[in-house]
């Protein structure tokens, strides 16, 4: 019998389809490449940076970009700007990604539990979350970091707490949507317990949208972290952090405007790349059946 008759073209899985659609989006692809470059830069900073980011030289303070040996100039203590910016990517990306990841775990757990159990559990969890959600995120981050005291760890905790409510909200609404779908009842009818249903059927359907939402928070987190450092509530000097550099170079605003804009440019490039990449990912995942 000719088996060809029944030949079906194996259509690719969900993520493969998303990946292909993503590759066809030039803007998102370019943004993703920039993000990839920044991550590589952060990882390999000690090997890429031409000079020691901590080594200052009071004779060469505030040199403009293009100075011999210092392609992007030097900062107010005579440290190489290029090296500091490269090293700064480490902290900035760390402060962008890690709080969001922590918040993703905690927020998704809260949201999924609330969404799946419904009723009183839902009300209790989500109203508590709403209390935090009511604060503007910048204000909450500053207040928390201020209360916890300066330092990177405290900044991290503050940012994590800021991002739990929005992620929990999204997780809850997606879970509520999935919970009432037929396949959850079908899973129940075939003997799956609540844990198995959450682990496989809810998580499998919910993680994508939550993850994409969390990605869009990375840029926000980075900017907030930079803001905290700028206010002296985050990373402490002499760590090369873009927000902190913006703060210390502020005094040179009138003498070397180009120089003191550089950390801001890095923050801008990174956050817009993350945003464009997330937008692309979201539209790639928005596959109508």
């Amino acid at each position: 019998m000719p088996e060809r008759v029944n030949e079906i073209i194996r259509s690719p899985g969900f993520w493969v389809t998303v990946w292909r659609r993503f590759l066809r989006d030039p803007v998102a692809l370019a943004a993703a490449l920039v993000v990839l470059g920044l991550i590589l830069m952060a990882v390999f900073a000690p090997w890429i940076a031409p000079q020691d980011p901590f080594q200052g030289m009071s004779l060469r303070r505030l040199k403009p970009p293009g100075t011999e040996g210092y392609p992007l100039g030097t900062d107010e203590l005579g440290r190489d700007m290029l090296s500091r910016l490269i090293h700064g990517a480490r902290i900035s990306l760390f402060m962008g990604i890690v709080p969001v990841l922590c918040a993703l775990f905690i927020g998704a757990a809260i949201g999924i539990v609330a969404g799946y159990s419904g009723g009183w559990t839902n009300t209790l969890l989500m109203r508590t979350v709403d209390v935090f959600f009511a604060f503007p995120s910048v204000l909450l981050a500053v207040a928390l970091a201020g209360a916890l005291g300066p330092g990177m760890t405290n900044g991290l905790i503050a940012l994590t707490l800021v991002f739990i409510p929005p992620i929990a909200r999204v997780a809850e609404s997606v879970t509520t949507g999935v919970r009432s779908r037929d396949f959850v009842e079908a899973a129940k009818a075939s003997g799956a317990g609540a844990l198995l249903i959450i682990r496989k059927h809810v998580l499998g359907n919910v993680l994508g949208p939550i993850f994409v939402y969390a990605m869009s928070l990375v840029a926000v987190s980075m900017i907030l972290a930079a803001g905290l450092s700028f206010l002296g509530l985050g990373v402490k000097p002499p760590q090369p952090d873009w927000g902190l550099m913006l703060n210390t170079l502020r005094t040179a605003m009138y003498t070397q405007p180009l120089l003191c804009a550089l950390p801001g440019v890095m923050i801008f490039i990174t956050s817009i790349s993350f945003n464009l990449m997330t937008d692309g990912l979201r539209s790639a995942m928005d596959i109508k059946a």
Partner: protein, 326 residues
């Protein structure tokens, strides 16, 4: 009946979630023998799906009050809790849903979903053995090129194939009772017939007992040994297919049968309808629920719910006017 695999007695289901309590099922008795197919026939809201779901206790417990007894394969379903209930579902009794596109999880391949179910109930089975069994199930439900279809996702298959996969999933753990909730309603007519024939064949080969919920009389006649007609949460007439179809005795069944289009013979004529509309389940009349729409209703009909009348050969009708309807 001495030999029953599923015995439902005086089942009452009330939904207490809303402002008014809705009495969806009001005293249903139903016994299914091994290898027997019973069709639950009725219009939307008559309680047929609610009855079916009660057997697996699928109703949200906080918002539902269930009374009566359900015994399936010697297991008292009402007494089951937690892990025992999860174990019972899918293994002793399993269910086929109306819309396979919605009842299959879109993010897992069909093979994954079937092996998940097998390994949930039989943890000793290796992943490989479970997959082999899924393959055999796919062959059994006649899915072409089963090896490849196991890795397919629900959206990649046609409606008929999806429903076949759904049947394979329901049969994965060799259940004794199969509940089918309008399994062919979402399919087009030609596929419907194929699925019905397949179900009937599988049911015979595996000696399954089956409750088949449908609102399509033709489908009921096709698959069932017995037909139970439901109206407003009660079984108003039950009997062998032939008895119920040829000599219906409840005015509702008579009305229902006369509403069927009689092919081309009556073209040009208006279709017969049952006047009025089904009663509000939150506010049922005290007597026979069909009385307000019934031509032969008398004062007695409106006072008390009619007791079942046995007309012989298992043909039971809940109507006090069986003498008139004969």
């Amino acid at each position: 009946m001495a030999d029953t695999v599923l015995d439902i007695r005086n089942l009452r289901v009330t939904f207490t979630g809303g402002a008014k309590h809705v009495r969806a099922v009001d005293g249903v008795d139903l016994a299914v023998a091994p290898g027997e197919v019973v069709a639950l026939l009725g219009e939307s809201g008559s309680g047929k799906s609610v009855t079916l779901r009660s057997v697996l206790r699928l109703h949200p417990e906080a918002k539902t009050r269930i009374a009566g007894s359900i015994v399936a394969a010697g297991v008292d379903v009402m007494a089951l809790t937690g892990a025992a209930l999860a174990d019972f579902r899918g293994k002793t009794v399993s269910m086929i849903f109306q819309e396979p596109m919605l009842a299959l999880d879109p993010v897992y391949s069909l093979g994954q979903q079937i092996t998940e179910s097998i390994r949930k109930h039989e943890p000793a089975v290796s992943a490989e053995a479970a997959r082999r069994r899924a393959f055999e199930l796919f062959e059994q439900v006649r899915i072409p090129s089963p090896e490849r279809r196991l890795d397919a996702y629900p959206h990649e298959m046609s409606g008929g194939m999806r429903q076949r996969a759904m049947i394979a999933l329901a049969l994965a753990c060799n259940p004794k009772v199969l509940l089918a909730d309008e399994p062919t309603t979402a399919l087009d007519a030609t596929v419907q017939v194929q699925i019905l024939l397949l179900l009937r064949e599988l049911q015979r080969n595996l000696n399954l007992s089956m409750i088949f919920v449908t609102h399509d009389i033709g489908v009921g006649v096709e698959v069932a040994d017995r037909i139970a007609v439901m109206y407003a949460g009660r079984i108003v007439e039950i009997g062998a297919v032939r008895d119920v179809i040829r000599t219906p005795r409840h005015p509702y069944t008579i009305g229902l049968l006369s509403t069927r289009a009689q092919g081309g013979r009556l073209s040009g004529n208006r279709l017969t309808t049952i006047s009025g509309s089904p009663p509000d389940l939150a506010n049922l009349p005290p007597g026979c629920a069909f009385a307000p729409r019934c031509a032969s209703a008398s004062a007695a009909c409106r006072e008390a719910a009619p007791a079942p009348v046995d007309l012989g050969a298992g043909h039971v009708v809940r109507c006090i006017h069986t003498a008139i309807t004969a």
